[in-house]
């Protein structure tokens, strides 16, 4: 199968990222423009192609060239002529399109020098952004389907399971159950037929790890799935993808078709006599359908609601038959493990958590995007070295791991290694890979409220603690954020959180209280301030904060007056402007528009800043103490 190999390694190529992020920022148009421009410039020997997601979506559309490894960000159609002329024809890369480190301002021309990538270890994402995901030849050229051949021709199903067991791989869907062990349960189940399901539901807000793998390297997942099917003896498979991922659905469908044509799927795979067919099932986008028993119900055409286990899917799953369910990243890792061996894999990571973890790193951080790091790496390294630290020189406050039902860890936990056990011990979870970084401006009560509003809305409603309990918790948190919290609420909130954790049927309810419990544990002072002093220390909760225009700073420029959406500001030329607190909707517009050098708008919570009751002449040039003393009125 050599015809698929790209020609010589020094073939000149220019890749445009076609992950969902870059497609939405018009990456496709950039590629078309490049193709046209190269044709016009008679540079046909340079191949234009596209890849899946690079994980650095905020920099998109991303373009990079090979073999020189130049990396361009925010490329628009208008930049194409310059890239073609200057770089591709004359060998002068376009400096203004290079990546600029948001912290140091340093320009980094080459892909391999960008800190965001340099500190990562990519196993699951190894081909993402490297190959054209719609061409099986590209996948084969980088060694794809060799692991499948190895498993089918050199290994028995038992040996495959042994190898996965030895690698120490644990499920990446959140719970971290040892994958090899799970496979052996399903293999030993006496019933037939058996099903192999790939869980690509990925419902966590802000998470796009599984989507990127399916969009960037669908064959890896299909290959891992086929190896798993061979190991457990499944003849039919389902990939459950949410319908909101149309590009992933499309690329997985293309990949399935190509794999079947090449004999890697379907009847009598590689002449082994083993059959495996895969169906794509599009989900309607309920978070709870990622839970394995709900997912099974959904494939069966029922309402996606979890059920109690046992029986576990390994014994009674889809249509009551033995079923094995794995996450996308788990399956992508399987392919790599069979390719490189269990010994190689088990050297990566920690004693109990092997391999790498993929995170969607977001929040108040310099570089946000998709990252893959070895297990056991401290949180600090992810946030400061890969993520580039906190934006705008602010203070780090907390990091939330594990998606909407993970916990928020404070600065004192920054040296916690990222692995299943350590995160659980700190009150958080590994989850399926969300990581949100928060700075000093974030109110932790508000954060807890936000995550709970998600889990409450996504609760399937089957069991009482989750359906009703999270509603009460959410109401209490909303009240606390508005300054209506009662001291007794705090105890009740904690009690409810703990009872919901033990009493819920599935892990959605079982983990939904985590953000509340961890913020109460690590940021209790913020809860107390909201309840007892009606104060939001982070100045984030609108109901508890007021905006004031400082008479000793206001220059009377009128910017805020014109920008205020509800005309709550009074003022005039060279007059100190005044906000009518009754009218103000706390939208922060005045603070945002007031020029940095004046810095005249201030926020305060539970304290009153003395300001004039109506506009008075500007005194800002005079010494501060005199100005404020003479102007303030009661």
């Amino acid at each position: 199968m050599n015809q698929g190999k790209p020609a010589k390694s020094n073939e000149r190529k220019i890749f445009v990222c076609h992950g969902t992020g870059c497609v939405s920022t018009k990456g496709m148009e950039v590629r078309e423009a490049l193709e046209k421009a190269l044709a016009e410039a008679r540079l046909q020997d340079i191949r234009v192609d596209f890849t899946g997601c690079h994980g650095f979506c905020e920099q998109g559309p991303i373009v990079f060239t090979e073999p020189d490894g130049v990396f361009y960000c925010h490329v628009g159609v208008k930049d194409v002529p310059e890239i073609v002329e200057s770089h591709l024809r004359n060998g002068q890369p376009v400096v203004r399109l290079h990546f600029k480190d948001p912290l140091t301002g340093e320009v980094v021309p080459l892909f391999k020098d960008i800190n965001f990538y340099k500190k990562q270890q990519r196993i699951v994402l190894r081909n993402c952004g490297r190959i054209n995901p719609e061409r099986i030849e590209d996948y084969i050229a980088v060694g794809g389907y060799e692991p499948l051949r190895k498993a089918f021709t050199e290994m028995t199903p038992g040996l495959v399971i042994e190898e996965i067991k030895r690698s120490g791989l644990r499920g990446r869907g959140g719970a971290g159950f040892p994958t090899g062990l799970k496979w052996s349960f399903c293999q030993q189940a006496p019933d037939f037929p058996k099903y192999m399901v790939c869980n690509a539901d990925e419902g966590d807000p802000g998470a796009f790890m599984d989507r990127s793998v399916m969009e960037g390297d669908p064959h890896t997942v299909i290959e891992g799935m086929t190896i798993a099917a061979y190991a457990i003896g499944a003849t039919e498979g389902y990939i459950y993808i949410r319908a909101e991922y149309p590009l992933a659905v499309k690329r997985v469908r293309i990949a399935l078709e190509q794999a079947e044509k090449k004999g890697f799927l379907g009847k009598n795979i590689l002449g082994s006599g083993f059959d495996f067919r895969v169906h794509v099932k599009e989900g309607a986008g309920a978070f709870v359908c990622g839970e394995e028993t709900a997912l099974i119900a959904s494939i069966e055409g029922k309402r996606g609601m979890p059920r109690a286990r046992p029986p576990f899917p390994a014994n009674s799953g889809l249509w009551g038959k033995p079923t094995n369910i794995n996450n996308v990243k788990t399956l992508a890792s399987v392919t790599a493990i069979i390719a490189n061996g269990a010994d190689w894999y088990s050297k990566i990571g920690t004693e109990k958590s092997k391999g790498t973890a993929v995170f969607a790193l977001t929040g108040k951080i310099a570089n946000s995007g998709l990252i893959e790091v070895p297990m056991g790496i401290p949180l600090r390294k992810i946030i400061y070295e890969i993520g580039g630290g906190i934006l705008n020189g602010k203070q780090f406050k907390a990091v939330q791991t594990g998606g909407p039902s993970g916990g928020c860890l404070p600065a004192s936990y920054l040296d916690t290694p990222v692995d299943y056990e350590s995160l659980a011990a700190a009150g958080s979870i590994m989850g399926s890979g969300g990581m949100v970084v928060m700075d000093e401006d974030t109110c932790m009560v508000d954060v807890a409220r936000y995550f709970l509003s998600f889990t409450q809305a996504e609760s399937c409603g089957k069991c009482v603690p989750c359906r009703v309990g999270t509603k009460h918790m959410l109401d209490m948190l909303s009240n606390i954020c508005c300054g209506k919290g009662k001291p007794s609420d705090l105890d009740l909130l904690k009690e409810l959180a703990e009872q919901i954790k033990v009493g819920s049927l599935c892990a959605l309810g079982g983990t939904a209280p985590n953000p509340v419990l961890t913020t109460m544990r690590y940021f209790r002072d913020e809860y107390d301030a909201h309840v007892h002093q009606k104060k939001c220390p982070a100045l984030a909760c609108p109901e508890l904060t007021n905006y004031y225009i400082l008479p000793d700073k206001c220059q009377g420029c009128g910017l805020c007056l014109r920008a205020c959406p509800v005309a709550a500001i009074a003022g005039g030329k060279r007059l100190v402007h005044v906000i009518d607190q009754e009218k103000c909707i706390k939208c922060s517009t005045c603070l945002d528009v007031c020029p940095r050098r004046f810095d005249a708008v201030a926020k305060a919570s539970a304290e009153k800043i003395e300001v004039p009751s109506e506009p008075v002449p500007v005194t800002a040039k005079k010494p501060v103490s005199v100005a404020s003393g003479s102007i303030s009125e009661e």
Partner: protein, 372 residues
């Protein structure tokens, strides 16, 4: 079936393999509260009232969905179980009118009537005495049993209009505790599938396809869902409490469903299926459940034999009516006579009639109305 032994609250309990922990406890007369479980339906595990502690098992499993195994050691009322149960019940109460449920008056002999002055300022629509399920409500029973005295949580409501589109019964979502017994009944027992849970989270609701009124859906009005509702969320429109019940066979068709006619003031006021028989095991169709009340007491119903005379029908006695029939029949040859029987008769009646036609009259001309 294989027998197993488990220990529940220190008591050795015999059970059949395949039973759940809840079933094993119930068989041994050990009380575990539950609201979503119903013996007719598949285990659900939604209300979380039946949580127990099981040795060597993590957390607090719901006994209704946990298979009983040999040697299992179960505890049904430990402090942890009790705390979880009370939380679940408190949460449920906060979504259901609850002031009456925790009112002292309910527990002493002096019960409220609809005209009493309420001591707790409960809205009329929220009072026990105005709920059709009052005193037969399973939620009331659990509250009493657990001795719930107060609810620390504020009432959270989802005000929904009452669906009274069906001629026989109505759905008051404001009383619904979302146990899903009705939806499971409609799917598992009747196989109709007219109702299902819709929406997620706190907005979850019993709904027809497209959230249309029940009568515009594929609902067959059998009322099975209503019969399985533990509270007053589904109730017959004509809710009169019977004084006594009389067992009989449904007269509507030949299936022979057993039913209990609820009688008050010598009138049939309500009907329910009789569970202890192998024909219908408690199930009824729309005609049996809602039709018989009207049919039994209807003014058009014949209660005495009539003879046709020149100027219409005249009442007569059974003796003279039968004599008249016998006289007339004897004037014909067997082949000149045909006998039609009815699907509304019992199998026994039909058997006797065909026997009469063949053996007494000597004719094979015997037929039945239900051979369409």
């Amino acid at each position: 079936m294989e027998n197993i032994t488990l220990t529940i609250d220190g008591q050795k309990v015999e059970a059949k393999k395949g039973m759940t922990v809840l079933e094993a406890a119930q068989a041994a007369n050990i009380y575990i509260p539950t609201l979503c479980h119903h013996p007719d339906l598949e285990p659900y595990g939604g209300c979380r009232l039946c949580v127990v502690e099981i040795e060597n098992t993590r957390g607090l499993p719901a006994s209704c969905v946990t298979p009983a195994t040999d040697g299992m050691v179960v505890r049904t009322c430990t402090p942890a179980v009790d705390a979880e149960r009370r939380t679940a019940l408190e949460l449920l109460l906060s979504t259901h009118p609850f002031d009456c449920l925790v009112c002292d008056r309910r527990k002493v002999n002096r019960r409220c009537t609809p005209y009493d002055v309420c001591l707790r300022s409960v809205a009329v629509t929220d009072r026990c005495v105005t709920c059709p399920a009052n005193e037969r409500c399973e939620l009331q029973a659990v509250v009493d049993r657990l001795g719930m005295k107060s609810c620390r949580l504020p009432r959270v409501t989802r005000p929904y209009p009452i669906d009274s589109s069906n001629p026989f019964f109505e759905i008051d979502h404001n009383r619904c505790i979302l146990c899903a017994r009705c939806t499971r009944t409609c799917n598992e027992l009747t196989g109709i599938g007219a109702i299902e849970m819709a929406y997620r989270g706190f907005s979850m609701k019993v709904s027809t396809f497209g959230d249309k009124p029940l009568f515009e859906s594929i609902c067959k009005s059998c009322g099975e869902c209503m019969a399985h509702c533990p509270v007053g969320a589904m109730s017959p429109k004509d809710a009169v409490w019977p004084e006594k019940e009389v067992k009989t066979t449904c007269p509507y068709c030949g299936v022979g469903c057993q039913m209990l006619l609820g009688v008050k003031d010598n009138k049939v006021v309500q009907i329910r299926g009789e569970r202890e028989n192998n024909v219908n095991k408690g199930g009824l169709c729309v005609k049996g459940r809602f039709g018989v009340v009207e049919f039994v007491g209807h003014t058009d119903r014949l209660t005495k034999p009539l003879v046709k005379q020149d100027d219409g029908f005249a009442e007569t006695t059974w003796d003279s009516a039968l004599e008249e029939i016998a006289n007339k029949l004897s004037r014909y040859k067997p082949d000149e006579v045909a006998v039609i029987s009815s699907a509304k008769c019992t199998n026994e009646d039909n058997y006797v009639l065909q026997k009469f036609a063949r053996a007494a009259l000597g004719t094979h001309n015997i037929d039945h109305c239900a051979r369409l």
